[in-house]
């Protein structure tokens, strides 16, 4: 795929400016900026709104639901045309969503879902985390062919839903490949430092020569693990294949340097599809399905990772 | 008192060993119903150990205990309490942040429908306390009452729970005269009801005031049990020490005081001590007399900078100084042995050695540690000079007896070679032997030319060593006594009449 197309899909997704979207006001209640990905989502959302001439009212909740509820009430009071909500927790939204419904303001959930009746919101735009794991697993199945492959797995925070889903998706993908086995699986808490520490113990316990691939539930852990592999005297990306999920800039750089092999993108562009849905709704009242999945695109060494790295770096990752 | 009566409690041939050392050696103690029995002895004689063996806090190594004629073997204070032996300690063992009623009924609260019946509890508490002549509101926090009342609440609790034998371990140590009277009236009330009371104290006057008999312990052995009606204080002291205590008589006249060293003008702190003037000369002891709360301790504190004065001026050998903190006082070669040894004096877990060099080291600063040989020399010198009795200077100071702790604190200050030493109640709560030694030390230091300020509630003591006595009342200096004026009579008169300062 050409770089230009990639950019279009991944971040910009330039939709033709439709007249009906212009001069509309949309409120966006963001969780906060607890991770680079979250910061990128904020940046992309603002860019998307600007492209389409939408007046975006942005509210940072600093990880607090009460702040989000306040922001939503304020959006309702201001009479915005629609609300984007990235909910910090799943429960406790019913009454404020009802208020929005009473005011006839459509609400679109971004990135996460809530435990509320689905007629209280228009739709939820999220990625499919199980599918992300599947894409990573499929890549590995294709990459190793019929060779024996002993895989070590760096899990996300124990008990968190992305960790559970990404593990399940990966296991589903390799279920039909008896030559691929997960020999060690331990949590790296989604952090770079723990990724490195845990990978060190994997390397000691199994021996670098006995590990064929690393699957990490996020790129940060993979980046940490890559350093551990190098310090153990092995070559990441070659002796040990590295596949992870998220597609953060540093991972693109690692792929560009040949130290990692593949990553599945969790796109920060949740707002693009959301605005598309709103455009269609404002144009002719089209109602979307209750769940809109974002694309989980696979990046490998075939892409121009250096260029993607440069571009993504500016998004606030 | 007829000895043919059945004893309430009889402990026979109690033995207790600690790591090879004998703490109690064949100790007998017999209590009759309705008597107050004083348990006397120097610190470390084995009084507390005996009590702990009786209540089961310690496991005795030999001997029998009979309560009302039947042998008992309590394995802890809770069990002995249930059997009928209640104990009240000097530091009240109650919960200050709960109400009086809570404290009285903790563990056996009256219940209704699974809940504490607070109304009934408060009413019962008021009734019980009224029986002790206390008419207070039991629904208020314990901490809102004085130590004496807390003490009575503790006694009431012990009596309600036990009811046969009551052990009072130094109950009067922190009480003033009126409070002691209250306590004693409660004790008399209890003995009239037939309880046996064990009274442990250092105050011999109080022993003779309230007790019927006394058992004296020395080095873990009973040296005698006496009916107090038949003996004098001197007899008891002789038993305790095993020797005659030299009567502390006032010497004709000490050495002539030297030059003025500290001069305080209009010195005071609002709410603590009214402004006063004081000229302190080398080689004199200025005694501070007065009742509890009269300003003795406050005077010591404000001079040493524990609380800095808010008015007046201080001159040290003619040079104006600001005594704003203990640290600056230390730098100006002042020293203070505080009244409350445990909380303000010793650093319990540090060794005796470290406690002795603490102030000297503090003055040198942390960057210039004293050398090991210097420390050893200082510690050896003062351990010997003050006859501090210890197994090793490396043992934590909290393990020493009260008298030895006090000597170690004196050593701490003497090691700094002070010009002025302030002693606040230097002999409180320590045994008779150490008491005499400290008084001798005060006289010796004075003779060497040191200037001392000594606050004490023991007037005989002040009379013995003071060059001058300043009498305080209601936080004000009311009188200064000099030379032949210094007698207990005059001091008492000055305190009670509040004569205006001459």
């Amino acid at each position: 795929m050409k770089l230009k197309t990639a950019l279009l899909i991944s971040a910009m997704a330039l939709a033709p400016a439709i007249a009906s979207a212009a001069d509309k006001t949309v409120g966006f209640s963001q969780i906060g900026s607890e991770s680079g990905w979250r910061a990128a989502e904020t940046t992309v959302t603002k860019q998307q709104a600007e492209e389409r001439g939408i007046d975006l009212k942005f509210a940072d909740a600093q990880q607090k639901q009460e702040n989000q509820i306040k922001a939503l009430r304020s959006f309702i009071a201001q009479g915005v045309d629609a609300i984007l909500l990235a909910p910090v927790v799943a429960t406790g939204w019913d009454s404020v969503l009802e208020e929005a419904q009473d005011a006839e303001i459509p609400v679109i959930l971004l990135d996460r879902k809530v435990d509320a009746s689905d007629d209280l919101y228009m739709t939820a735009v999220t990625s499919d985390t199980v599918y992300e794991g599947e894409v990573a697993g499929k890549w590995l199945v294709d990459a190793v062919g019929s060779e024996e492959c002993r895989v070590v797995e760096l899990q996300g925070t124990t008990g968190s839903s992305p960790a559970i889903d990404r593990k399940a998706g990966f296991e589903k993908a390799i279920a039909d490949a008896p030559n691929i086995t997960i020999v060690r699986s331990q949590t790296g808490d989604f952090t770079r430092a723990q990724g490195k520490v845990v990978m060190e113990s994997f390397l000691k316990a199994e021996g670098a020569e006995n590990i064929c691939a690393l699957y990490a539930h996020n790129d940060d852990m993979a980046v940490g693990a890559i350093q551990a592999i190098k310090e153990a005297g092995a070559t990441p990306g070659d002796d040990i294949l590295v596949v992870a999920i998220d597609a953060v800039p540093d991972m693109h750089l690692a792929i560009a340097n040949g130290e990692a092999n593949a990553t599945v993108e969790l796109t920060p562009n949740m707002a693009g599809p959301a605005f598309d849905i709103l455009d269609a709704y404002w144009a002719d009242g089209t109602m979307p399905p209750k769940w809109v999945q974002t694309e989980s695109r696979l990046y490998t060494a075939d892409d121009d990772n250096q260029a993607i790295y440069e571009m993504k770096k500016g998004l606030g990752y | 008192m007829t000895e043919t009566r059945k004893p309430a409690l009889r402990a026979t041939a109690i033995d207790k060993f600690f790591a090879g050392a004998i703490a109690l050696d064949q100790v007998d103690l017999t209590l009759y119903p309705g008597e107050v029995h004083a348990l006397l002895g120097e610190n470390g004689a084995g009084k507390s150990t005996l009590i702990k063996c009786i209540t089961g806090a310690y496991h005795r190594d030999g001997g029998t205990i009979e309560l009302d004629g039947s042998p008992i073997d309590p394995r802890g204070p809770v069990e002995s309490q249930a059997l009928g032996i209640g104990t009240v300690y000097q530091e009240v063992n109650l919960l200050e942040n709960m109400t009086v009623a809570d404290n009285l009924f903790l563990g056996w609260q009256p219940m209704r429908a699974g809940m504490v019946d607070r109304r009934r509890m408060n009413r019962r508490a008021a009734e019980i306390l009224a029986g002790y002549g206390l008419h207070i509101d039991p629904s208020l926090l314990l901490s809102s009452y004085s130590i004496a009342i807390q003490q009575v609440v503790a006694i009431a609790r012990a009596v309600e729970l036990s009811g046969k034998v009551l052990i009072l371990d130094e109950p009067t140590a922190s009480l003033d005269r009126e409070e002691i009277d209250l306590l004693f009236s409660v004790v008399r009330e209890l003995t009239a009801r037939g309880m046996a009371v064990v009274f442990i104290t250092h105050f011999l006057d109080q022993v003779f005031e309230i007790s019927d008999r006394a058992t004296v312990l020395r080095n873990g052995r009973v040296v005698g049990t006496r009916k107090l009606a038949d003996v004098t204080q001197g007899d008891i002291v002789e038993l305790m020490l095993g020797r005659h205590l030299e009567a502390t008589k006032r010497k004709s006249q000490q050495t002539e005081p030297g030059d003025a060293i500290l001069s305080l003008k209009d010195f005071g702190k609002r709410g603590m001590i009214d402004p006063f003037d004081l000229d302190l000369r080398q080689g004199e002891v200025v005694g501070l007399a007065g009742l509890l709360g009269s300003g003795r301790t406050e005077t010591c504190k404000v001079i040493f900078g524990v609380v800095s004065a808010d008015r007046g001026s201080a001159q040290l050998r003619g040079t104006p100084v600001r005594l704003s903190s203990p640290r600056t006082a230390l730098e100006h070669r002042l020293g203070l042995c505080p009244e409350d040894r445990k909380t303000d004096g010793i650093v319990g877990d540090l060794s005796v050695r470290e406690n002795i060099i603490l102030s000297l080291q503090a003055r040198q600063g942390w960057t210039r540690p004293l050398s090991r040989s210097r420390i050893n020399a200082i510690v050896d010198e003062y351990v010997k000079a003050l006859d501090i009795r210890l197994a090793s200077p490396d043992m934590p100071i909290r393990l020493l007896s009260g008298g030895n702790q006090q000597k170690a604190l004196l050593a701490r200050w003497l090691a700094t070679e002070p010009d002025i030493l302030i002693l606040d109640e230097p002999t409180r709560g320590i045994d008779v032997g150490a008491h005499a030694e400290i008084i001798q030390l005060i006289e010796r230091l004075c003779a060497q030319g040191m200037a001392l300020i000594v606050a004490s509630s023991e007037m005989e003591e002040l009379v013995a060593y003071s060059t001058r006595v300043i009498v305080l009342r209601d936080r004000r200096q009311v009188r200064e006594l000099q030379g032949d004026e210094i007698t207990t009579d005059r001091i008492v008169k000055s305190i009670s009449q509040g004569e205006s300062a001459a």
Binding site: E231 | F18, P369
Partner: protein, 349 residues
């Protein structure tokens, strides 16, 4: 002197030995150390290397706890120091400038805590809680919420380099531990810190300047935390403000406690705390090497630590002492061996 120190840390040495043996049982190759790529390579080296942050924190924490205080902010200070170091090198500064800037940030944080505790008399747990919460925010402001990666070789060397085959962090914590121990024990600082921890009123009345000492321990704690923060950032070539040092203050406190130091202040041993840090890291190592599913991590860790703390409890110690005394031929010397709460404390003058 040496004998007393050895006796003090005997329980920690025994526990460390047992946990290391546990490592050996779950992974027989545990004790093998190889020399490859110019560095020592082995699980034992990992324990020493990965234990570095908690070991460094425990040095400062020991002193703070000895004064009856606590420093909850060390994890956040790590994040700040890492962020400062990273922003200096990404801004074109050298590694040494970055290190100095990070340590200065640590000192500043220590100063903040110290002033609150020593001068404004705020309770230590409250005073340091402020920085624990706010500090991570400061670090996030510096990194703008992302992982600030860097490629400065000098800085990376501090976390991932080797000196004579030993990973740099090991050298750093050993050096820091030795330095601080030397300073507190060769000067009177240690004794004065213990004095104010045991009885601050009495110490003040004895003429000790408790404010300056309190300030000093929080400054030392800040510097130790900053050093740990630089190591952690250098190790992953990036300052991760969200996660660097997260909850590590609890591990540091635990290390001090496993080291047999009382949370009520007073007598302390830095060596014992360092052993405590190594014990914690060895427990982590057991978990990683055992290959158990991560759901068991916290349960295993909790179980091992409960056992360690129970063994160290005064009651159990006393029971062991009695056992020894009754089984042993000679009655032990009362004050040298007797546990703190034994009845042996009664002395007779």
């Amino acid at each position: 002197m040496i004998g007393a120190t050895f006796r003090r840390i005997t329980p920690q040495l025994i526990i460390l030995g047992i946990v290391l043996l546990l490592n050996f049982l779950v992974f027989p190759g545990f004790f093998s150390i190889e020399f490859q790529n110019g560095r020592l390579f082995g699980n034992l080296i990992d324990v020493l290397n990965r234990g570095a942050p908690v070991a460094l924190l425990s040095i400062g924490m020991t002193l703070v706890i000895a004064t009856k205080g606590i420093d909850l902010s060390v994890g956040a200070v790590m994040a700040i120091a890492g962020a400062v170091a990273a922003s200096v090198v990404t801004g074109g500064g050298g590694w040494f400038t970055a290190l100095i800037a990070a340590l200065a940030a640590g000192l500043l944080c220590g100063l903040w805590n110290g002033v609150l505790v020593a001068f404004l008399r705020v309770q230590p747990i409250v005073a340091t809680l402020v920085l624990m919460v706010a500090g991570r925010g400061v670090a996030q402001l510096i990194t703008e919420g992302k992982i600030m990666t860097f490629l400065n070789e000098g800085l990376i060397f501090l976390g991932a380099g080797t000196i004579l085959g030993l990973p740099t962090p090991i050298i750093i914590w050993l050096a820091m531990g030795t330095l601080v121990t030397f300073v507190v024990r060769r000067t009177a600082l240690g004794m004065l810190i213990e004095a104010i921890g045991i009885n601050e009123t009495a110490s003040r009345l004895a003429g000790i300047n408790s404010r300056v000492l309190l300030l000093a321990v929080y400054l030392i704690s800040g510097v130790c935390a900053a050093t740990a923060g630089v190591i952690v950032a250098a190790d992953i070539k990036g300052a991760d403000a969200n996660n660097a040092g997260l909850w590590m203050e609890l591990d540091a406190i635990l290390a001090v406690v496993i080291g047999g130091n009382s949370l009520l202040g007073g007598r302390f041993s830095i060596v014992a705390s360092l052993l405590g840090a190594l014990i914690i890291q060895s427990v982590n190592s057991v978990i990683l090497l055992s290959g158990m599913p991560p759901e068991f991590n916290l349960v295993i860790k909790a179980l091992i630590i409960i056992v360690i703390l129970v063994i160290q409890s005064p009651t159990v110690k006393h029971a062991l002492y009695l056992l020894r005394a009754s089984a042993g031929s000679a009655v032990p010397e009362a004050h040298a061996v007797g546990p703190r709460n034994s009845p042996a404390k009664e002395t007779r003058s």
